[in-house]
């Protein structure tokens, strides 16, 4: 007698994914104007980062000793820094660093957190208990301290800065994802999948993960802004991205503070750029959270 292959209920529905996304995006923009503004600002940042060589009138690394600490002028729109480097050019190229570190650490942090959170909820029992204690330990570590120690160990290149920012994010994400995964585990379709004889991997990947997409996206967007802020703080402390790379936090370090009175443009514009980027991501993330899961509280 032939045994019927268990049918996965997910394989039965085949809507056009692209169409659904487009419709959802249009609906989002209509209902949440603030979120749409945030999305527009993020898009703007991407365009600036991608077209940096085209937009920027000057090389961000070019040193002009004849124009050190020059005030904003037609030649240098936002002035120059202590080495005579064009502030606007450094801001434009700095967006690349911010987006790279922001997306790098947010994606890795949220993904690892999701895997741990879902695994912890799905397996329950001992696994859950030990993982939760481990998460508790990392949660109690002050964020910046963990990053400080990690950068001291790994050294400060861009990938290491991303790693240092990722580590404190993982337990924060795992906590939220675990909470939603716990309720999903009790859903009849997970029972059904188990009864149908599917393995752990398949149940987790096909049945649990798609259903924690909402909190995953919410954590991801929340992390983007935080990662950019954290990178700026680390770079400001001299523990993040290194000179002469253009990075916003780095631009605020040293001379920007020392010459703040004589050359306030050095201190003001990079801070505005950081605030603008984080503001955009938060505005978008906030509306996304309201749209996807209004009950979920993230910071």
């Amino acid at each position: 007698m032939a045994v019927a292959r268990p049918v996965d209920p997910l394989e039965l529905e085949t809507p056009s994914a692209l169409g659904r996304w487009a419709a959802a995006a249009a609906e989002f923009c209509r209902q949440r104007p603030l979120g749409a503004i945030g999305a527009g600002a993020i898009l703007f940042l991407f365009v600036v980062a991608a077209l940096a060589p085209v937009i920027s009138a000057d090389d961000p690394l070019a040193v002009h000793f004849d124009a050190m600490l020059a005030r904003p002028s037609a030649l240098h729109w936002l002035g120059t820094d202590a080495f005579g480097r064009d502030v606007l050019a450094r801001l434009i190229y700095g967006s690349r660093t911010a987006l790279l570190v922001g997306f790098g650490s947010a994606i890795v942090g949220a993904a690892l957190g999701t895997i741990l959170g879902v695994g912890s909820a799905y397996f329950g029992g001992r696994v859950d208990l030990y993982l939760q204690r481990l998460m508790d330990v990392f949660l109690s570590f002050p964020l910046i301290v963990l990053a400080l120690a990690l950068v001291a160990i790994l050294g400060n290149s861009v990938p290491n800065v991303i790693a240092a920012i990722t580590v404190p994010m993982v337990p924060r994400c795992a906590l939220v994802i675990r909470a939603s995964a716990l309720s999903i585990r009790e859903m009849p379709y997970v029972d059904a999948a188990r009864a149908a004889g599917f393995g752990h991997a398949r149940i987790i990947l096909r049945h649990m993960l798609p259903n924690v997409m909402a909190p995953f996206l919410i954590m991801l967007t929340a992390f983007l802004g935080q990662a950019i802020l954290l990178e700026a703080s680390l770079s400001f402390l001299g523990l993040g991205v290194q000179e002469p790379t253009a990075a916003w936090g780095l631009m605020l370090r040293g001379a920007a503070v020392d010459f703040a009175e004589a050359a306030p443009w050095m201190a003001i514009f990079p801070g505005l750029a950081i605030s603008f980027a984080v503001f955009a991501f938060n505005l978008f993330g906030d509306s996304l959270r309201d749209a996807l899961d209004p009950k979920l509280r993230t910071q």
Partner: protein
């Protein structure tokens, strides 16, 4: 209930132990040690024998597990040891700095509460009006501005507009309160703005949730004054999650002021942390980590108790 409290209390210890293990291992993985940095940091010719002698003095030559046991035994007796860099007792190193960080954290909390609660309540009451949008944009902006940058802007504004700078030398509150406040109000404002943003958003969403409850409608139907409904019925019930964020943020601030302290030239816990890591001052890093993490763990524990106590709907296994 008492069973839950006991469990929750006991759970603090494995977490603390975990923190101890992680920091103990972490700092020993950082290349370079305190002896090398202190004696041969300026590339002076110091013989390996002298270095080893010095290491032995700190017990750094012993097996790692033995060092850990010694440290744990000290912690149990509240003996943090002496700083490997300055040689001063850790308690003495931390005391004044803790007072400073603690005071800034308390002042920032006051700023945050004074801003957050009225703003959050108004935003919730006027949901989806321009008032609500203004408050939301104000609070999202608070999350977006790096507080260290806000600090730079404060100093710059004071300097340019008022030709005045806050005092640069720390005066304890009990020595000269006026001098002290003149210096610490600025970091408190810079940090408090971000802090208030977190709390405003929580107040708003908690209020929105509560305002939709049946008992609020009943109170309205009874013809109760709006102000009484707000203060007696709504605010009281919405405060629990708000209290939680405020407490968690507060606990975080004790060790999280690193960058702001740098900007305002404050010699607090955060700055001490950065120096301790730079010096590989193992005993000091360990003590600071346990202090900051312990503070955080205890505050979280107290919040859980407060929850169980204040909200009778919560029943624990």
């Amino acid at each position: 209930m008492s069973r839950y409290l006991l469990m929750r209390f006991l759970l603090m210890f494995p977490t603390l132990l975990g923190v101890a293990v992680v920091i103990f291992v972490l700092i020993r993985v950082i290349p370079g040690d305190v002896v090398e940095l202190r004696l041969a940091g300026d590339r002076g010719a110091v013989s390996e024998q002298v270095l080893n002698q010095e290491r032995a003095r700190f017990g750094l030559d012993k097996p790692v597990w033995q060092q850990f046991a010694t440290w744990m035994w000290g912690l149990l007796r509240f003996d943090f040891g002496t700083s490997m860099w300055t040689g001063a007792p850790i308690g003495q190193e931390i005391k004044l700095r803790f007072a400073l960080s603690f005071q800034v954290a308390v002042m920032a909390t006051i700023v945050a509460v004074l801003l957050a609660i009225p703003l959050g309540v108004i935003a919730a009451l006027k949901q989806d009006t321009w008032v609500d949008y203004t408050v939301r944009i104000f609070s999202i902006a608070g999350l977006a501005c790096p507080s260290f940058w806000l600090g730079i802007v404060f100093i710059l504004t004071l300097l340019v507009v008022f030709k005045w700078l806050p005092p640069m030398v720390y005066t304890p509150l009990w020595v000269n309160p006026w001098q002290n406040l003149q210096q610490l109000i600025w970091p408190a404002l810079a940090v408090g703005y971000r802090y208030s943003a977190v709390a405003t958003r929580m107040t708003r969403s908690a209020m929105l949730e509560v305002l939709r409850e049946d008992y609020i409608r009943t109170a309205r139907a009874k013809g109760l004054w709006q102000s009484l409904i707000l203060s007696r019925h709504a605010l009281k019930n919405a405060m629990l999650p708000v209290l939680t964020v405020i407490a968690v943020e507060f606990a975080f601030l004790i060790g999280g002021l690193v960058v702001t302290e740098q900007v305002f030239n404050l010699n607090g816990i955060g700055l001490l942390f950065v120096q301790a890591v730079a010096h590989r001052d193992y005993t000091l890093i360990q003590a600071l980590t346990m202090l900051v993490a312990g503070f955080f763990i205890v505050v979280n524990f107290l919040m859980d108790i407060a929850y169980a106590w204040l909200d009778p709907r919560i029943r624990y296994r």
